[in-house]
Subunit: 197 residues, 4 copies
């Protein structure tokens, strides 16, 4: 009874999340709530019923992605080949960010606690992955987990400049990024890694 109504609401919620992800991806934080509602095929009021503010809508999307990425990182931490584990993680992360990269974390005014915690958890998991890959010599030792986190966003960003890019073009730039993280042919990096992101 409540079941079927919930089903409708849940459907709207997920259409909203999908529509918002696309709008945010193409217009950034300045995507308008009206456009998101239109794309999701619902009224403007429905957006606000599900997410009290535009920022909350963005946060919901980002939280989703961060948590699923963190889960992946934790799973890959258990893989046999530490180097491959990190590269697989980067592959998946770069691929997902095709649609919505972390830039929004920066654009969106202030970050809420839940989001901050989730992000922290993701960072911890990635750093562990990186350190394990360094231990087996797969990654140069002068980069930090934070550096890898930052470079992970590069493929999506770079591809965003290429109109009509092939859907897998991001792999090309991920390959370049990864080659820059390898020990072979590494040159000194200059300034030290930042303290936090």
């Amino acid at each position: 009874m409540t079941r079927s109504l919930r089903a409708d609401a849940a459907r709207n919620r997920s259409m909203l999340l999908a529509a918002a992800a696309e709008e945010f991806a193409s217009r950034g934080m300045s995507a308008s709530v009206a456009d998101i509602a239109r794309r999701a095929g619902v009224g403007k009021g429905t957006v606000f019923r599900h997410f009290p503010t535009k920022d909350d809508l963005l946060a919901a999307i980002v939280l989703d992605r961060i948590e699923s990425l963190a889960a992946l990182a934790r799973k890959l931490y258990l893989a046999d080949d530490a180097g491959q584990a990190l590269f697989d993680f980067l592959d998946e992360a770069a691929g997902r960010q095709q649609q919505l990269d972390f830039s929004f974390l920066r654009d969106s005014g202030d970050i809420n606690d839940q989001l901050r915690d989730a992000r922290e958890g993701l960072y911890v998991a990635i750093i562990a992955l990186v350190e394990r890959a360094q231990a087996v010599g797969a990654v140069r030792t002068d980069v930090t987990g934070l550096d890898v986190i930052l470079m992970m966003c590069v493929p999506a960003h770079v591809v965003s400049f290429v109109p009509g890019a092939a859907p897998d073009l991001w792999r090309r730039y991920l390959a370049m990024v990864i080659d820059g993280l390898r020990p072979e042919g590494a040159h000194p990096l200059g300034p030290p890694s930042p303290a936090a992101v």
Copy 2:
């Protein structure tokens, strides 16, 4: 008489460009014309006298930067060490983008002809630099000039995620990018380079 007026106007124009560059750099495309005018110390109307729309103001800034970067590329093309020439170019380009990266070109709706031509000129000059660097073995041969152009924006982008970053932090990520462009330790890149940007 027109003389002195022109001088005033020119002065206003360049103060406007400087003010706008700073505002755009810190607030992105959503910097307001009113703020730009205030920072430049002129009235809002004066902004529109010089640049018919906000987009035109942005385009003027970008055009400026593109042309000066293209000039630099052409000058470095004449340098003895082809590899160093490219790296020097990237160093300068990445450093300048600290303040205003090309992202705006993407954000700003449509690009005008003058801008398109200038960009084309810059691309040609960079591609020449890259090919010369490849000829002497300083850069892997499976990257194209277009790839380098795209990767050139990476340091500014990456650093933008780091609050309170050291002013030279971008050099760290440029070093990583460059290491990824070197022949040593290069792995296959997968998808081909895009046809155009």
Copy 3:
């Protein structure tokens, strides 16, 4: 079966009236239907099942009060001391309006027929009380029943300006109003009483 449903419905209706009276009293006409429903512990839809519009809900409350006040006026008309009867009525009326004064009648767009009739009945009863009090010399003869009706709202209104007022402060201003209605020390009133309210 209909029986028990009716009981439920009646219960909801009166909880709704009580909740709405409190909300309207503290927030005026801009109290929200959602808040009223929440305070009554029912769904928003239920509010509209009982009262087609927010205005109707307000009208129902006011109708209630008007009718009970009219009943009181009629009862007091039978009292021995005509002067005391009127003052007792004003005391009770002013006290009740502590919670919801007639202002809402003015704010709420148009008045419905039932409400108009009830108000008319109240006015008739009050006018009778006043005339009887004048007949025994308790009230100056240059005021009309309508004047008294209007002045009756004064204590609640005045007290509404005093933050943290003592709960019986309205009596102070009712006393002043009544002193103004007495024959002793009466001065000419100037303009004639209005034809209707």
Copy 4:
């Protein structure tokens, strides 16, 4: 040069104030900025150019009235007949509030400092007037300045319930209020005067 432009702006500002006073008077704080703008014959943006928020617009109106009323009170304090001075003041105050009474001070969320100071000044001036009137026996001694301030708003409020009231009807109710303030026929007031308003 700036002169003539200012003239236009000043004209708009005062039309805005007038329009807002009328809208606020008839619809209370829920008068809409759009309606005010329409009534003033200007665009919505113009309202915000002159008054940063709706509350500021209201505050400007109220401040104006408060200050001019305070000036009047101070002037009348110098009059020979202390009783007449107070009654003259009440006459003027009640007449002005025909259009916009102090209710707005209550409705408007928070009061700004300038407004609070002005109100304080007005209160001080009125209290002085009252005490002087009491000293010559024109006003009963058991009322305070604060009481008078509160009762001063009565005529405007009462008349607001009379549709199509004669323009001077407020004088009738002011006369009743004043008769209630006289020493003749005064009865005990019951609860003490409030500490502050």
